[in-house]
């Protein structure tokens, strides 16, 4: 069996990679993918903890997070599309009408 700690550490590493990705990348789509990766990393923790504690709360939480992620993706990509129709870039540095 896999010790919970290992899963949590993996999850923390994935979360950090995602967070760093958000900070270093300038492409809105990739930033967004990194955010999704962060949510996923947390989900992994939740599932492992659900086992650790022997209740289903963590798994329910994951289910809820998936719904949230789905909505966020729908809205986020729609926003990106709306912008691209105006201006042909997804590079957030080029989107500089307002200061970043």
């Amino acid at each position: 069996m896999v010790p919970t700690a290992y899963v949590l550490v993996l999850s923390a590493v994935l979360f950090t990679i995602g967070a760093v990705g958000v900070l270093v990348r300038r492409n809105a789509l990739i930033i967004f993918m990194c955010v999704e990766m962060m949510l996923n990393a947390v989900n992994l923790s939740l599932v492992a903890l659900s086992n650790q504690w022997g209740n289903l709360t963590g798994q329910i939480f994951v289910f809820i997070v998936m719904a949230v992620a789905a909505v966020e993706v729908a809205i986020g990509l729609a926003i990106v599309m709306a912008i691209v129709r105006h201006k042909d870039t997804t590079n957030v540095d080029e989107i500089n009408l307002l200061k970043w």
Partner: protein, 486 residues
Amino acid sequence: MNLHLAIIVPELIIVATALVVMLADLTGRAVSAPPRWRGQLMAGLTMVGLIVAALLTLVQIGLPVQDIQNLLIGDELSRYLNLIVLLAAILSVLMAWDYLVHFTRMMAEFYALFLLAVAGMMFMGKAVELMTLFVSLEILSVALYVLTGFHRGQLAGGEAALKYFLLGAFSSGFFLYGATLLYAATGTTYLSEIAALAPGGFFTIAGLALLLIGFGFKLAAVPFHMWAPDAYQGAPTPVTGFMSVATKAAAFIALLRVLLATISVPYEVWSWAIAILALLTMTWGNLAALRQRSLKRMLAYSSIAHAGYIFIGVAAGSQAGMNAVLFYLFAYAFMNVGAFAVAAQLEKPEFSAAQDADISATRGLFGRKPLLAVAMTLFLLSLAGMPPLAGFFGKMYLFIAAVDSGWVWLAVAGAINSVISAYYYLRVTVSMYMYEPSEETFVRLPLQMPVSLAISIAVAGTVLFGILASPWLTSLSRSVVALAAR
């Protein structure tokens, strides 16, 4: 199972109103009613829903605390939050009433999303379980992302939405991780159980820290504020007014609930974190506002600064501090939505958000529209914290609470910040009173009835709330919990 559904009747009414608005729109289209007429109908329906919800909330005040399966709680805190959110929403809908027709035909969608955002905030104020809290937070966030980008005719709106969305989603990640760590510490997501188990140690502290980051983003606290000026500037002005007040209110209440649950983290630890956040937020917000030329962007930075002031009350942690936070949020709802309402009247319809009304657009406003100028002056002076306006009393209660809890330096920093902020608020009054109207001066004429009503209500609130609300403050104090003595 305890399903006291009565406690969420106001929320349900808001959600139902959103559905009614959409259905009414379909009907309106079916009979091909003219767009303007449809817009009035939507706004009217929204208004009715908001007012009914507010009345029901008023009826609930004083009732005993009840909960639904320990997930949602109907206590005084949540009822006062409802009132703050609904007040801001009512004023903003009045503001949007005639503003919307300038840039969109999707009135029904606007009002429906607006109502759902309101519902999300109200649920957030009631949520006492981390999943429920998270979903409520997402409801209001997603609705606001869309509302921010609602002005489809301009690039700035879309960009504001994108930035708001990306950083909002980013912060959701932190929020979620924080919640997960609290679950890791206790094996439960119920705040009451987390508080009862009260485990100390790494998980709780780290969980609270990550949740604080998440809340920091939502509250636009420095250094998590990068999205706020753009989102506030790019959003349609009624949305800006609404979200600058109501989102803050909901997030602060949720923050209080989380702090109440993480009982094992010592007061000395988290209050210092909050105090530093308060100091950074108000100082940076005010300093950045000094340099702004756009009226809306200046108000955006000012609302960052105001989150800093409110943090002072949280750092105090006492019952007086919590009272002060609620009191300030009420005062803030009047004065800030009022200020944005006036700002909205100074925008030319063809303005895109990237070049919205400069401060110079208020030049000589006193000569053109004296009443509008006087109203704006009252809002600005109140935001600066001048007596006898509501903003002064709000700050006063915050500072009293801070001094009571030993945070004298924080109160001093707040007072000094008020002086800094006075400079940029006064610049607007200088422009309004001490110059003659210029070419750039633009006032949307005629001033429509709904927005006049909104401004009048806001003026009345700004002037009278501070002076007359003292008995109310006493009743408030009975019901609000103290953090420090958790």
